[in-house]
Symmetry: C2
Subunit: 439 residues, 2 copies
C-alpha cells in the first residue's frame, strides 16, 4: 500500500530524503502545497536576475556577458561566507545542478548548430595547423605546470590541468573582430576555422583524459593500449555519429516534417540532441560531446519543409531555451569558487602560472601562419580566451576521482576560474592593439 | 574535509541517496563520467518523441495534441505493467517531476499572456454569468457525486472532486470555432470571455479547497472563518499581484530595457513569472496561480522598447520553452494512470458519473445566455472540455493529504483522467453539430 501511494503521489522514496536540499526556503515553509518546484523557481528567479544585471555591467565595460554571469556567481557565493546559507543550498541543490547541466548541453548543441560538418572539412590547412598547435602547446605547458607546482598530486591531475587549457572559446574573439569590422579578414577566417576544429579536438582530449582517469580509478593502468582504446572509442563515436547523422538527419527531418502539430521541428532537434548526449554518456564520454555532434549534424537545409510551413529557424527556436538554462550553469560555476582560496598564496601562484601557460601556449598558433601573408600575432591572441569551455572541463574534473580524491579540487577549480577570467579579459584590448598594429 | 569535497563536487549528500532513482539506465551504466544528466536526457528524448508522435495521431483524427500526449503517457506507463521497470523509474524520478512542474508553470504563464487584466475587466455580463454558472453547477454536482459514490471518504475528498470539475480548458473549443470560421461570432466571444474569468475563478476555488484541506490536515476545522481566511488570502494575493503588477510591470520592463545584452526581455519575463510562482507557493497557494497572474500582468505595450531594439515578441520567446517542457507534464500525467484501475467496476462507475456531472454541469452556462440572442446550447457545449486544467488540479490533489491519506488516490486519479479524455473528445463533434443546427 505504501508502495502504491508513493507510485501515485509521484514521489520516489528518494525525494523524501532529498527534502533538506529541496526546501532551501524552509524558513518560509509554505503552509499548504509543499510543491517541490517552489524553492526551485525562487532559485531560478535569483540566478536569472543576477545573470542579466551582471551581464549588463560586463558589456558596459566591454567584456562578454558570460564573464558577468561568472562573477555574479562568485558574488552570490560569497554571501555564503557571510553566513547566508540559502545560497549555499542553491549551489548544492540536485535539481538546480541538473538544470545547469541541461544548460551546458543546450549551449554545446547551439554552438554545434553554428557549424556544419561540411564547414569543418573545408577550413583548410592553416586552420588545421593553428588548431593542432594551439591544442598541443597549452596541453604540454599545463601538464608541466601541474608537475612543477603540484608534484605530490598524481600524473592524472597534471594531465587534466593540461586538458583544461586546450579549448579556445572563440565567441569573444568573434565578437571583437565583428566590432572592429574585421570578421571577414583572412586572420578571422583562420581563427574561426581553427575554433571549429579546436572544439572537436578539445572534446576528444577531454574524452581521452577523462576516460583514462575513470579507467585508472577502476584499477586500470595508464598503458598505451588503454589510451588507444579510449581514443578509438571517442573517435569512433564522434566520427560515427557525424557520418550516421549526416546520412540520417535529412531522413529523420523529412519524416518529422510530415507530422501534424506545432513545435515538431524544435522537438525533433531536441530529441536528436538528447539522444546523442545520452549515447555519449553511455559509452563513458561527457554528454556535451554528443550534444555538440548533434549540433554539427543538423543543417538548415534539412528543415526546408518546416520553413515552408512557417516554422521559425531552428537557431531562433533553441535560443530562448539557452537564454533560460545557460546562465544557470555559469552562475553556479561562479558560486562554486571559494573566495577564501584566493587569499592563499599557492592558489594565486597556480592561477598565475596556469594563466601564463594558457596565454603563451596559444602563441604557438602563430607558427601555423608562417610562410603565409597572415598576421600570426593576431591569430595567437585571438585564440587566447578560454571562457565557457575551460569551465565545462573544470566542472567535469570536479566529478572525476582517482583513489577517492577528486581530480579537480577546490584550489585547482578556483585557479582555473581565475585563468578563465583573465584570459577572457585580456583578449579584447590585446586583439584591438594587435590588429591596429598590423593594419 | 569530506564537507569540503562535497561542496566542491557540487553533489549534496542527498544526491548520493538519489542514485537509485537517477540512474534508471543503470543496466547500461556509463563507465566513466557518472553525469546525473545522462538518464534525464534519455527520459526527455523518449517523452518528447512519444508526445510528438501521439500528438500527430491525435490531430489526424481531429483531436487536440494534448489528448495524444496524455494517451502516449498511458501507453508508456503500461510498459511498466509489462515488466519494463525503466518507465516506472522515469515516472517517479524527482528531476523529471520538477521539469514537469516547471512545464505547467510555463504553460499557465503562457495562457495568462494571451489575456490582459483589461480583457478581464471588459468581458461583460454574459461572460461573467456564464463563467460563474459554469463553475458553480459542476462544483455542486462533483461534490454530490463524491458524497454518493464515495460515502466513506471525507468531505474534503468530495469538495476536491467538485473543484476538479470546475475549470474549462477552452483551447479545444477555440480551435474548433476557428476551424469552422466562427471564432468572431457572439457565442465565441462569450465563451472566450467566460474562459478568462473561469481560469481565475477555478484557481481561486483550487486555492480555497486546497488551503482548507491543508489546514484541516494540520488539525484545523472546516469553520466558516477558516474558509473566509483562505478565500481572503487567495483574493488578496491574486488581486494584490494584479494591481501591483499592472503598476510595476511597465516600470520593471522600462528599467530592463536599458540593460545591455541578449535575452533581457525573456529573462525579465521569466523572473516575474518565477517570482510570483514562488510567492504564491509561499503563502500556501499553488505556484501556477502566481504564474498565471504574471502572464495576465505582462502586456505587449510594456515591451515596446524591446521590440524597437529587435527582440522578438514575448509569446514567441516563451513558446520554445513550453514546447520543450509542457509535453513532459502531460506524458507523465498519462503514465500515472493505472491501467489496472480501468478493469475495476467502481473506477469505471466513478469515471462515468464524473464525466456526466462534468458535461451536465456546464450546461448551466446556457442559462447565462437567456434573454439574449445567443445560442445557449453551443455555449454550454463549448464550455465542456476540461483538458489540462482538470489534470493540473488532479495532480495537486495527489500531493494533498488528510490524516495521512492522499485526497486524490489512484482510483480517483484514473477516473479524472477518463473524464478529461471523454469531455475533450466529445466537444469537437458536439460543437460542430450544435453550431450547424443554430446556423
Amino acid at each position: 500500500m505504501a508502495q502504491t501511494l508513493l507510485r501515485v503521489s509521484g514521489l520516489c522514496p528518494c525525494l523524501l530524503l532529498l527534502t533538506p536540499a529541496l526546501t532551501f526556503g524552509q524558513e518560509h515553509a509554505p503552509q499548504g502545497h509543499d510543491d517541490p518546484v517552489t524553492p526551485v523557481v525562487l532559485a531560478l528567479a535569483v540566478i536569472l536576475t543576477a545573470a542579466k544585471l551582471a551581464g549588463h555591467i560586463a558589456s558596459r565595460i566591454g567584456q562578454p556577458p558570460v564573464l558577468g554571469e561568472l562573477i555574479a556567481g562568485v558574488v552570490l557565493g560569497s554571501f555564503d561566507l557571510a553566513g547566508i546559507g540559502w545560497f549555499h543550498a542553491i549551489e548544492t541543490d540536485a535539481i538546480v545542478e541538473v538544470l545547469a547541466r541541461l544548460g551546458v548541453i543546450i549551449l554545446l548543441f547551439e554552438v554545434g548548430l553554428e557549424s556544419t560538418v561540411r564547414d569543418m572539412l573545408k577550413v583548410g590547412l592553416p586552420s588545421l595547423l593553428v588548431a593542432v598547435l594551439g591544442i598541443a602547446a597549452p596541453f604540454a605547458l599545463g601538464w608541466a605546470v601541474g608537475a612543477l607546482l603540484l608534484p605530490d598530486r598524481s600524473i592524472y591531475v597534471h594531465a587534466f590541468l593540461g586538458a583544461m587549457l586546450t579549448a579556445t572559446s572563440v565567441g569573444i574573439t568573434a565578437r571583437v573582430l565583428q566590432d572592429l569590422g574585421r570578421s571577414t579578414s583572412a586572420e578571422a577566417r583562420v581563427i574561426l576555422g581553427a575554433a571549429v576544429i579546436d572544439d572537436v579536438l578539445g572534446l576528444v582530449i577531454l574524452a581521452v583524459v577523462g576516460g583514462v582517469i575513470a579507467s585508472a580509478d577502476r584499477g586500470g593502468s595508464l598503458s598505451a593500449t588503454e589510451v588507444a582504446l579510449i581514443l578509438g572509442k571517442a573517435g569512433l563515436f564522434l566520427f560515427g555519429a557525424l557520418a550516421a547523422g549526416v546520412y540520417l538527419s535529412p531522413r529523420i527531418f523529412g519524416l518529422a516534417s510530415r507530422l501534424n502539430g506545432k513545435g515538431v521541428l524544435l522537438s525533433t532537434a531536441l530529441v536528436v540532441c538528447f539522444t546523442l548526449a545520452y549515447l555519449s554518456g553511455l559509452i563513458g564520454l561527457a554528454p556535451i560531446v554528443g550534444a555538440y555532434a548533434a549540433g554539427l549534424i543538423l543543417e538548415d537545409v534539412h528543415f526546408r519543409d518546416f520553413a515552408n510551413r512557417g516554422e521559425h529557424q531552428l537557431e531562433q527556436l533553441v535560443h530562448p531555451i539557452s537564454t533560460f538554462l545557460v546562465p544557470i550553469f555559469f552562475v553556479i560555476m561562479g558560486m562554486r569558487v571559494d573566495l577564501a582560496a584566493f587569499a592563499r598564496a599557492e592558489v594565486l601562484g597556480l592561477a598565475a602560472t596556469l594563466t601564463l601557460a594558457a596565454i603563451v601556449g596559444k602563441q604557438a598558433c602563430s607558427l601555423g601562419a608562417l610562410g603565409r601573408r597572415l598576421d600570426g600575432l593576431s591569430i595567437g591572441i585571438g585564440m587566447i580566451p578560454r571562457g565557457e569551455v575551460g569551465l565545462i572541463f573544470a566542472n567535469i574534473g570536479l566529478g572525476l576521482t582517482i583513489a577517492g580524491q577528486p581530480i579537480v579540487d577546490e584550489d585547482i577549480f578556483s585557479a582555473v576560474v581565475i585563468m578563465v577570467i583573465v584570459t577572457t579579459m585580456v583578449t579584447p584590448p590585446a586583439l584591438k592593439w594587435s590588429l591596429a598594429r598590423s593594419r
